[in-house]
């Protein structure tokens, strides 16, 4: 089978993921079970959602460091609304999503209108969102709302007594599907790619660059807020220290999935596998269970290294 060159990084990621899964299954008891693999999705649903938004930003040649903080802010606002003020979910959740999108759009507007560097604008955004969390509440807030708990704890069995998925995991898959459609089949998505390829050219080609740039950050903010909602399903709490450093995980997932940080090249599906790869590295370490705290870090780094280098080798070979 001949593989089009543009799919090579994606293929590299997918096959390396398969190799890692095989390795885990052979080495550890209980690893090779459908539930373990579904857990990758269940446990990382929020990361998938956040990374999808990040993929758009990176494809457009930007970066968004604020996502982790926006996740935290969303959890705490949601917890406050639902738990302390007893708002209904159907009102609170859309409100939080709007808030995320507006936050992103504001940063996008600053970047676009005043030609600021995305890195610092979103870094300031990161400080701001995290700071707002502490203003709302320093302590963590548990969510005990009945409807919420039901949503969070519902498990959908793939077949009777079989492995199960959470609502969040399914939501993540839906978000991914929508993102794939957006990226590949709509004017917006293609404009994002064009801007990533060459912003100057995109302007000269008469594409709506300014609007798209702002929309990209708004989308990322929206995804981060949605990630926050998923996070509350996962944790049933709002907390200012949630999702610290999540932005790096998201960026790593996107880049491992074969998207170029310089923009214009990459796939949404790659991002999914990027997240799953990070997840499986963690799972391998947990199943091993003999590593000390520092060896955990070293081994994560080493696996990341092996993965990235193999990916490069694979690409070089195929070309």
């Amino acid at each position: 089978m001949k593989l089009a060159t543009k799919y090579i990084p994606l293929a590299a990621t997918v096959s390396l993921f398969a190799v890692m899964s095989a390795f885990g299954s052979l080495s550890y008891n209980g690893f090779f079970s459908a539930q373990v693999f579904l857990n990758l999705l269940v446990d990382n649903a929020f990361l998938v959602v956040v990374a999808v938004g990040m993929t758009f930003v990176i494809l457009s040649g930007g970066i968004d460091l604020s996502v982790g903080s926006v996740v935290a802010l969303s959890t705490i606002v949601l917890a406050k609304l639902v738990e302390h003020w007893h708002w209904h979910l159907a009102v609170a959740i859309p409100l939080v999503l709007c808030m995320g999108a507006l936050f992103g759009a504001f940063m996008g507007w600053l970047i676009q209108r005043f030609r600021l560097q995305p890195f610092i604008v979103t870094l300031a955004g990161m400080f701001l969102a995290r700071g707002l969390c502490y203003l709302i509440s320093i302590d963590s807030i548990s969510i005990t709302d009945a409807a919420y708990t039901v949503l969070a704890q519902t498990r959908i069995h793939l077949w009777a007594d079989g492995p199960m998925l959470s609502i969040s995991a399914i939501l993540a898959l839906v978000v991914l599907a929508v993102a794939v459609f957006l990226a590949h089949c709509t004017q917006f998505g293609r404009t994002v790619y064009a801007i990533g390829g060459s912003e100057h050219s995109a302007v000269l080609m008469g594409l709506p660059v300014a609007r798209t740039n702002v929309a990209v950050y708004a989308l990322s903010g929206f995804c981060a807020a949605l990630g926050g909602v998923v996070f509350t399903f996962y944790m049933l709490s709002g907390y200012g220290l949630h999702a610290v450093g999540l932005e790096l995980d998201a960026i790593a997932a996107v880049v491992i999935g074969g998207t170029l940080l310089s923009g214009g090249v990459g796939y949404m599906l790659g991002t999914l596998f990027g997240v799953l790869t990070l997840g499986i590295i963690q799972t391998l370490i947990m199943f091993d269970g003999s590593l000390s705290s520092w060896w955990t870090r070293i081994v994560i780094g080493a696996l990341l290294f092996v993965f990235c280098v193999l990916q490069r080798v694979f690409e070089a070979r195929k070309k």
């Binding site: 089949c185 004017q187 060459s198 080609m205 594409l207």
Partner: protein, 513 residues
């Protein structure tokens, strides 16, 4: 200055500019320029490098905002504030340089912003199949048969330029503007393009056309507007303005368009000269088939061939940009391993690349730094060429090559296209190479400057520099070269002596086909 008032017929112009002025800092790029464009005409915009042609077009299409002046489209006053605006108003533009997205497919580049949609999946979903079909059809009009799903970056500059033209053509507009669209196309492609343009003109489109090739102007255009130093010289019917008069209008003084002397004349003497470079069975999988090549000191060798015949690839392999995987390369009688441009430069080679935007200029660095770069790279980190020395060097080339710049500390990216090209050339001349490979060195350079550059090159060749010359203008190749190496399908098919008729070259290309 003369300004002829008569217009074809009594029609009002589709597009009329009056008193347009534009200033960049201290540079007065345009002042008081008028332009009239009528439906059903091809109008040439002429002027030397840096005269303000591209700036005028950018002001017209909303890339820059004019400081002064009035623009009217179909009698209504307009002011485009963005390119998107201009497109909506019915102005379709192909800018100088390839301004497309290298990461997108050819088909997408043509249709970006105006994708054909599929009905059912919402009015949203792009109809990829239809888009590719239409892209192929459009390119076929220009006689280009390529895989439109490949990324644009995988094609040569010439193909990219054709894609840009195809995009311009596909936008149904009242006015079509083409800024030096033919600078790296060969004769056959150019003929094709003319066919299409004439057809559009006959359908009533107004076409504004920028070029430095005088023959093309007379072959295609109905009227000519000439700019000099950002000012309007005049508007003339093409038929009434002779060759020499046109040059005089552009340059501002009488100048006889005498072609540079024929180089081939002294070829016999040069045969005696020492061999500089020898390639035996040099090849690279997928780009150059095994080939032998000998270059002597003081010799100008032309590379003849059609688009995509592998001339650029050969130049890249010789220069160490791509590694050869077979054969050997001997320079000054010792075999060398050419593994990087740095190594090539150390050995006295220079390569003026085809794609100046991507591989030539370092946009934000000054003209001075750009010119000094290669020489400094050959010397390594230390000693550093002193500032005074750099200034002297830069000023020398600004003068000899006639680079038009406000000062040598201006970022090279702000220069007009042709002047950027001259500066890149200056960079290589400054290294005093023993072999200079020139890939389309005269791209976008005006007629007066071209002569000066060619003379400069011939002078250097007389002093012992070897030149490998690639150009899409076969006539130029034939005129300047002592010897012509003809290529087809990435392989060398033969050699011809200099001064031959260009038909002989075409015959050789076609002959064994």
């Amino acid at each position: 200055m003369t300004y002829t008032q008569q217009a074809p017929g009594a029609a009002t112009p589709v597009l009329e500019l009056s008193g347009v002025a534009k200033q960049f800092g201290t540079v007065r790029a345009l002042s008081g320029v008028n332009l009239r464009l009528f439906a059903g005409e091809v109008h040439a915009l002429m002027g030397q490098n840096g005269a303000g042609k591209s700036t005028l077009i950018k002001v017209l299409t909303g890339v820059y905002q004019a400081d002064q002046g009035d623009m009217r489209l179909g009698g209504k006053s307009i002011r485009a504030t963005s390119t998107l605006d201009a497109q909506r108003l019915g102005i379709s533009t192909v800018y100088q340089e390839v301004n497309l997205c290298p990461n997108l497919s050819v088909a997408e580049n043509i249709f970006a912003g105006r994708y054909p949609r599929k009905g059912l999946a919402g009015a949203w979903a792009i109809d990829w199949a239809r888009m590719q079909r239409e892209a192929r059809a459009l390119l076929a009009r220009l006689n280009l048969d390529i895989d439109v799903t490949q990324t644009l970056a995988s094609y040569s500059v010439a193909v990219q330029q054709m894609v840009a033209i195809a995009r311009g053509l596909s936008i149904s507009a009242q006015v079509l503007i083409l800024d030096e669209p033919t600078s790296s196309l060969d004769d056959e492609e150019v003929e094709r393009l003319y066919g299409v343009l004439r057809q559009l003109r006959d359908q009533g489109m107004a076409i504004l056309f920028v070029t430095h090739f005088l023959d093309q102007v007379y072959a295609l255009c109905d009227r000519i507007t000439v700019l000099r130093n950002g000012e309007l010289v005049g508007e003339y019917p093409a038929a009434e303005l002779g060759h020499n008069a046109l040059i005089a209008a552009m340059v501002g003084r009488e100048m006889v368009a005498n072609p540079a002397q024929v180089a081939g004349a002294s070829a016999d003497v040069k045969k005696e000269q020492a061999v500089l470079l020898q390639a035996r069975g040099l090849a690279r999988a997928g780009s150059v088939k095994p080939l032998d090549l000998t270059l002597h000191r003081g010799e100008v060798v032309g590379l003849g061939g059609l688009l995509g015949s592998g001339r650029t690839e050969l130049a890249r392999v010789l220069f160490g940009l791509d590694q050869s995987d077979a054969g050997e390369l001997i320079i000054n009688d010792s075999p060398v391993k050419m593994d990087s441009p740095a190594e090539a430069i150390r050995l006295g080679l220079g390569l003026c690349p085809e794609d100046r935007k991507a591989e030539g200029i370092i946009g934000e660095l000054s003209v001075r730094e750009n010119i000094a770069l290669a020489l400094q790279a050959r010397q390594g980190l230390w000693p550093c060429i002193s500032r005074a020395k750099q200034v002297e060097m830069a000023e020398y080339y600004v003068k000899t090559l006639g680079i038009k710049t406000s000062n040598i500390e201006a970022p090279i990216g702000q220069l007009s296209g042709g002047n950027q090209q001259k500066a890149v050339l200056g960079r290589w001349l400054a290294t005093k190479p023993s072999l200079l490979i020139l890939d389309e060195p005269t791209r976008g350079i005006d007629i007066a400057a071209k002569q000066e550059i060619m003379n400069e090159i011939l002078v250097l060749a007389k002093e012992g520099m070897a030149v490998l010359f690639i150009s899409s203008e076969m006539e130029e190749v034939v005129r300047l070269s002592d010897r012509i190496v003809v290529m087809r399908d990435r392989a060398k098919v033969g050699e011809l002596p200099g001064g031959t008729d260009d038909h002989a070259v075409y015959a050789m290309i076609a002959g064994q086909a």
